[in-house]
């Protein structure tokens, strides 16, 4: 082997036959292994994770959970030591906000009661939205710079399936399940470039869609808005229920700007997600829902 290397470095010719004789088997074995991995992954993947990455994800899942617990502990210690005053102020603010919300809840209860009476009087059927949800912890965010996704602590064993909508504790959309393992799942976030949800802003039906440039800023686009429609800045965008993947009337975000496409035939708007995607720790996967209205 050393003679071959010396021959090459000194400029002497080495024949292809000699090279393949010494390295051909190794190269062939590695290429064969790569082909098996690729073909096997494509054949088996379907709606599940590819078997290699799935196996590694399953094996690393408890390790990642352990590391995350350690990181969370360090973060909370850091917060206690260096951010005590900030946390104290935030706690007081949350107490005041809680008191306001309780007062609003009493008003809302009266409004619901009045709504039910009016429905009975007018003979209107009740809108029902029932959702079966599974709570999950966000374990890690993807390190990709070309996509926006995160892992959660629930999987096939908990009833999670590919395509299930994911919301936060306030019922705001955060993403959609992309890949499922036994006890973990990968969620494509709301601002990911491959995201596409039927949406409505006021009376306008459109599509909330990811965009690469906007993804870097944590935003997404509202597209296919008819040129006759004029979305309003500050308007809330909800899911429309089109496609029956996402339940209707879930909050997606707020319109922050409106513009015309290059063709001039349609408008598009930029949406600021309602959910704080950068600080997600707990999410809910909607495994089933029923909506009549």
């Amino acid at each position: 082997m050393q003679a071959v290397r010396n021959a090459i470095r000194s400029g002497s010719k080495i024949t292809v036959k000699e090279f393949l004789k010494r390295r051909g088997l190794l190269i062939m074995l590695i290429v064969l292994l790569l082909c098996i991995i690729t073909i096997g992954s494509l054949y088996i993947s379907g709606n599940r994770s590819s078997f290699i990455t799935g196996a590694v994800n399953t094996a690393m899942h408890p390790v990642k959970n352990g590391i995350k617990s350690g990181v969370d502990l360090l973060e909370s210690l850091y917060g206690y030591i260096y951010e005590y005053d900030t946390l104290k102020d935030e706690n007081e603010r949350l107490h005041e906000e809680n008191a306001t919300l309780k007062a609003e809840e009493d008003s809302a209860a009266q409004a619901i009661s009045e709504n039910e009476e009016l429905r009975k009087m007018l003979g209107l059927s009740e809108k029902i939205r029932e959702m079966t949800k599974v709570d999950a912890t966000v374990t890690e965010w993807s390190s990709s710079n070309w996509a926006n996704a995160f892992s959660i602590s629930r999987g096939e064993a908990d009833g999670v399936e590919v395509g299930d909508p994911v919301i936060n504790s306030s019922g705001e959309v955060v993403g959609q399940v992309l890949e499922v393992g036994g006890s973990w799942s990968i969620v494509r976030s709301l601002v990911d470039t491959s995201m596409s949800i039927g949406a409505s802003a006021g009376d306008t039906s459109a599509l909330a869609s990811g965009d690469f440039e906007l993804m870097q800023e944590g935003l997404l686009k509202l597209v296919n808005v008819p040129s006759t429609a004029r979305p309003v800045i500050g308007e809330t965008v909800h899911t429309s229920g089109a496609g029956e993947v996402f339940p209707p009337e879930l909050v997606i975000g707020t319109i922050v700007s409106v513009d015309k496409t290059n063709s001039g035939l349609t408008n598009f708007a930029v949406i600021q997600p309602a959910a704080d995607l950068g600080n997600l720790s707990m999410v809910f996967v909607i495994t089933e829902y029923e909506y009549t209205g």
Binding site: S45, T53, N145, I186, F212
Partner: protein, 169 residues
Amino acid sequence: MSGSSKKTLIKVIKYTVMLLVLFVLQSMVFSRLRIMGIAPLILPVAVVAVALLEDATWSGAFGIAAGVFCDVSYSESMVFFTVLLPIMGIALGLLSEYFLTRGLLSYLLCCVLSLAAIAFFQMFAFLVFQDVNPQALLKTALLQSLYSLILAVPVYYFAKFAGRKGPVQ
């Protein structure tokens, strides 16, 4: 167990530990320490380091393992890095065995070429199948490569500590 088998086993263990440490750094530490929203690629530069320090066999095998873990940290169902990194490892391993002068400078040059190739393949789908502004893609690719290059130097010395300390004998 013979002396050389024992040394090989120790080297395998060292490279495995190195792989796991770098995987945790890439997927759980540097994914949070983003600069202008960009996270670095640490496992691919580790493959380049092993290729420059070892031979094609070691770098190909390390490339397969690093590729799998890289795909896991990217939350991808495709086997992009699982296929690309071993090919890169073998090619650079052969280059370093027969043509390149081994050292930090050669390593950094190989890192630049490898990171450029990876960025090109990552941009390809956006350029061909989606209507994305090429400038935005290039900006992401450049920032990713620069950030990864900064971390390439400590990764090189980490790999040197884990494996062989001199040229191939």
